[in-house]
Amino acid sequence: MARIDIDSLYKRFGAETVINDVNLSFEEGDFIVLVGPSGCGKSTLLRMIAGLESISAGEIRMDGKRMNELPPRDRDIAMVFQSYALYPHMDVARNMGFSMEIQGRPEEEKRSKIEQAAEVLGLNRLLQRLPRALSGGQRQRVAMGRAIVRDPSAFLFDEPLSNLDAALRVEMRLEIARLHQQLGTTMVYVTHDQVEALTLADRIVVLDGGVVQQVGTPMELYESPANLFVARFIGSPTMNLMDIKVLAQPLGEQAFLSEASQLGIRPEHLTPVDAGEGHLQGRVEVVERLGADSFIYAQVPGAGRLLCRSKGNTSLKPGVPLGLHLDLPHLHGFDEQGQSLRHA
């Protein structure tokens, strides 16, 4: 288990700065998820921790020890690649035991460790197969097995589930969560999928354009996003955003409204009420019934389309006028620069 500290980290490819002044601390045993849109520098940051990418400026420490100059093999980390990077000419057992083969460990030790990891991942019957004879999910497990066998002080995952179909993705997500509980090892996990981030993380790091936007627990990020980017990125369906002008009249007394330029409210905090009541007036556009929830898309003059999420079924029909009630304690205000006014 390891604590990882990242100080004023920069990465430049030529003139392009891909990682820009990143400062982070990961506690021992934390499950950290780095999340952000494609191309924001998540993989680059992870690969810098792994030692696969050089550091332009700044410092990475593990348990207080400077890592910058150490090659990957001296960092005591294991990595699971997006492509799995299984050795195609070696069977599953040899793939998993490759690190021990390199160190020349005794055959007995290798076998017992491989069998132990195979047990954890349900790979016992597949040990003699070549990777090409495995399904996507099985390859994914082998890649994880290869990491587990090494018993590292930190696991690094780079979008490990992005090549799997939706059902398998949910299953493997649970598997990874279970693995973390079982091993208690520090894990750094990269994904562009905010659902994976919210479900897996102890703490989430939101990256955009190589800059850390916010660090916090899933609930902190969901309930008080630090800026518009995080507000839009975290949460599905996304937060409703509207110009302050739309609500200036009905909400005149709110303290932060004077500085706000945009307001945001999550769908579950927007309640449909009878026409003429509530803070906003509009018309039902589309109703989606998901069983447990209903999504009501409403057209509101000046604010565009807003989404309400209400429990259970609804009797609203498309085209019907309605009022919308805002749950004011859950209203978010953002200034000209997109920074949250509620966030400290």
Binding site: L52, P72, R73, A78, F81, P88, F98, Q103
Partner: protein, 303 residues
């Protein structure tokens, strides 16, 4: 529909149809490849010497029994092994080294990659002449260099010493053949996914372990097929030797293909030359069959 017994003519037409479509290329192959091959092989069982035009005809295996007692043939056979083995091994090792160098990024890599092709662009005849001059102590530098580093006691022409003469064409051939291996192996190297090396680096592998445990297994199928093709080609490759030494001195550089050539076109004994050619053909077939078996028994990497 109830099964109807088709008349045999209709069935024949169905069976013949694909062959009719194929016939133009089949006829062409038969005319330009099979026919000459059969005629050539048939010469091996005849006496056809332009020196004795009236003494020709079928003589059975007589050419082959003469061959068994022909010291020049056995010497050529031994030289063929020596020539092919040394040429291919050196071409392969140096070509692999060059491919590994070219596979790393460096400044001017594109230029170097283009230059590597150069030996191929030079006509064989010209490179053979150039190399024989290079080995000539009167005008070439190589004997002086070899003497300076102590390999030769004095700067003499290695091509005129029966003990060393074969090494002259071998060196020229190595120079000539490196690009073939460098280019084909470079293409194979570039098809190895980089993340395998990254995974291996994290697994703790050193550069040498990466090479042995990842690069070589990936290259193995390509190595086998290129070595096979190259060896067959080199065994048949008479140009360099013919121009540089003409098989001499004292047949010390005679290989089977040059022996065939001189027998046919100097001594004008086509029957005997064909007999030697048939032996060479059988040897190469046996060799190719062996390598193909080996290739099959290797666990292939999915491409």
């Amino acid at each position: 529909m109830p099964p109807v017994a088709t008349p045999w003519r209709a069935r024949l037409a169905v069976a013949a149809e694909p062959w009719l479509y194929l016939s133009p290329s089949l006829i062409l192959i038969a005319l330009v490849m099979l026919l000459p091959l059969v005629i050539g092989i048939s010469y091996a069982f005849q006496a056809i010497s332009l020196m004795n035009p009236f003494d020709s005809g079928w003589i059975g295996l007589q050419n082959f029994s003469t061959l068994m007692d022909d010291a020049k043939f056995w010497k050529s056979l031994k030289n063929t092994f020596h020539w092919t083995l040394a040429s291919v091994v050196l071409q392969f090792l140096l070509g692999l080294g060059l491919a590994l160098l070219l596979n790393r990024g460096f400044h001017g890599r594109k230029l170097v990659q283009a230059l590597v092709f150069l030996p191929w662009a030079v006509p064989t005849f010209l490179s053979a002449l150039t190399w024989s001059w290079l080995f000539n102590p009167v005008i070439g530098p190589i004997p002086h260099w070899l003497a300076a580093v102590g390999i030769l006691s004095e700067p003499y022409n290695i091509l005129s010493d029966p003990d060393t003469a074969l090494w002259g064409p071998i060196i020229a051939n190595v120079w000539f053949g490196i690009p073939f291996f460098a280019i084909t192996l470079l293409a194979a190297l570039q098809s190895i996914p980089n993340d395998l090396y990254e995974a291996a680096a994290i697994d703790g592998a050193s550069a040498w372990q990466c090479f042995v445990k990842i690069t070589l297994p990936f290259l193995a199928p390509m190595i086998l097929i290129t070595v096979m093709l190259r060896a067959i080609w080199v065994a048949n490759f008479a140009d360099l030797i013919f121009v540089m030494t003409g098989g001499g001195p004292a047949n010390s550089t005679q290989i089977l293909s040059t022996y065939i050539f001189t027998t046919a076109f100097r001594k004008l004994d086509f029957g005997y030359a064909s007999a030697i050619a048939v032996v060479l053909l059988l040897l190469l077939l046996a060799y190719a069959a062996l390598l193909l078996r080996l290739r099959k028994s290797l666990k292939m990497v999915d491409s």
